[in-house]
Symmetry: C2
Subunit: 206 residues, 2 copies
């Protein structure tokens, strides 16, 4: 199937299904249904069946989904059977937290290098990493082949650093800076700005 055929909104739900399935697996469950999975993630069973059917036939009428098999399939679809190296830019509170985040292990990611432009931080240690100078981003990332970055710099620096990341060959940026980034075609940005997450919910509050 041609990738462009599948709407981004469907792709964006697969990691949610995967996380729920792994949680079920950790609880010792072997099979599940679209109803049960849907109740866990707050998405209708029909939507889940429709989403998964875009990628193949993963369930059986009557017996539902084999959890381990569906996990494997989703990991393959999302390309996280491998481990992706990630760079973290900006060693403020958020960059610190991400550099030391325990939730990447076994989810497909590993922080490999961290950067800051503050002379007081460059050369210092954050978690297991020595902080590198932001001005060296292009060379360091190019030579390492890193394709993913988490951007935690102040809003005023975010576009400039983004341009460097793009030059270095980064193809996917998780943006914590409270600003929209301009990137060329072929580079993707996900916004994890917490204000955005909250604003998506206040709409529904009284």
């Amino acid at each position: 199937m041609i990738k462009q055929d599948i709407p981004d909104i469907i792709v964006s739900r697969l990691p949610i299904y995967l996380r729920a399935l792994r949680h079920m697996q950790a609880l010792g469950k072997l099979t599940t249904s679209s109803q049960e999975l849907g109740a866990t993630v707050g998405i209708s069973a029909a939507q889940i069946r429709k989403d998964l059917s875009q990628f193949g036939e993963f369930g059986k009428q009557g017996t539902g989904y084999d959890i381990a098999f569906l996990i494997d399939q989703l990991r393959e679809i999302l390309k996280i059977q491998r481990v992706w190296n990630v760079a973290v830019i900006g060693m403020g509170d958020m960059g610190h937290a991400l550099s030391r985040y325990q939730g990447f292990s076994d989810r497909g990611f590993r922080v490999m290098m961290v950067f800051d432009n503050d002379p007081a931080k460059i050369g210092g240690q954050v978690g297991n990493f020595v902080v590198q100078d932001t001005k060296d981003i292009v060379a360091a990332i190019q030579s390492s082949g890193i394709k993913l970055a988490m951007l935690c710099v102040p809003a005023g620096a975010a576009q400039e650093v983004t341009n460097m990341l793009v030059t270095a060959g980064v193809k996917a940026i998780l943006n914590y800076a409270p600003i929209s980034l301009n990137v060329p075609a072929g580079v993707r940005v996900q916004y994890l700005d917490p204000s955005i997450g909250l604003q998506r919910m206040t709409y529904y509050l009284d």
Copy 2:
């Protein structure tokens, strides 16, 4: 218009539009078009027009959108002309970072109280806050009327704390714990787990 009529996916794009519009405003721009806004956020002009038309008539044929007016309208739709108080639960790295996050000001949110269950942290200071004991969540949040929480506790504690938040009257949870939460109808969860954000992009990488 009845709220339930508008798909969640449309609501979820409004904060993205709002952020881009505020950025344009900060650059001194007065008007924009769906084309320009679309190029900034990576969404088609047609989709933006369709999304906004769900809520009213905000642009004029030929002159486009008045940025200040559209910002006001989006803030009203998203109910962030007011400031929402937020509780942060879990004072690890991520909770620390969120408690001190500078990006909430003028975006509709203010951290009001922070919690942890570690005796070594309870009573200590994080940013401007004294860390309260997680066991006191229900009483503290109920008496403050807080409706939003950011959850940064370990996966193993997340559901139990969520149950307390729900009992306390919290209606919207920004979840940083790498786990799916079960909440009753009327309570919303947004997942800001960074692994999920990365997994939404690796699908497109080679």
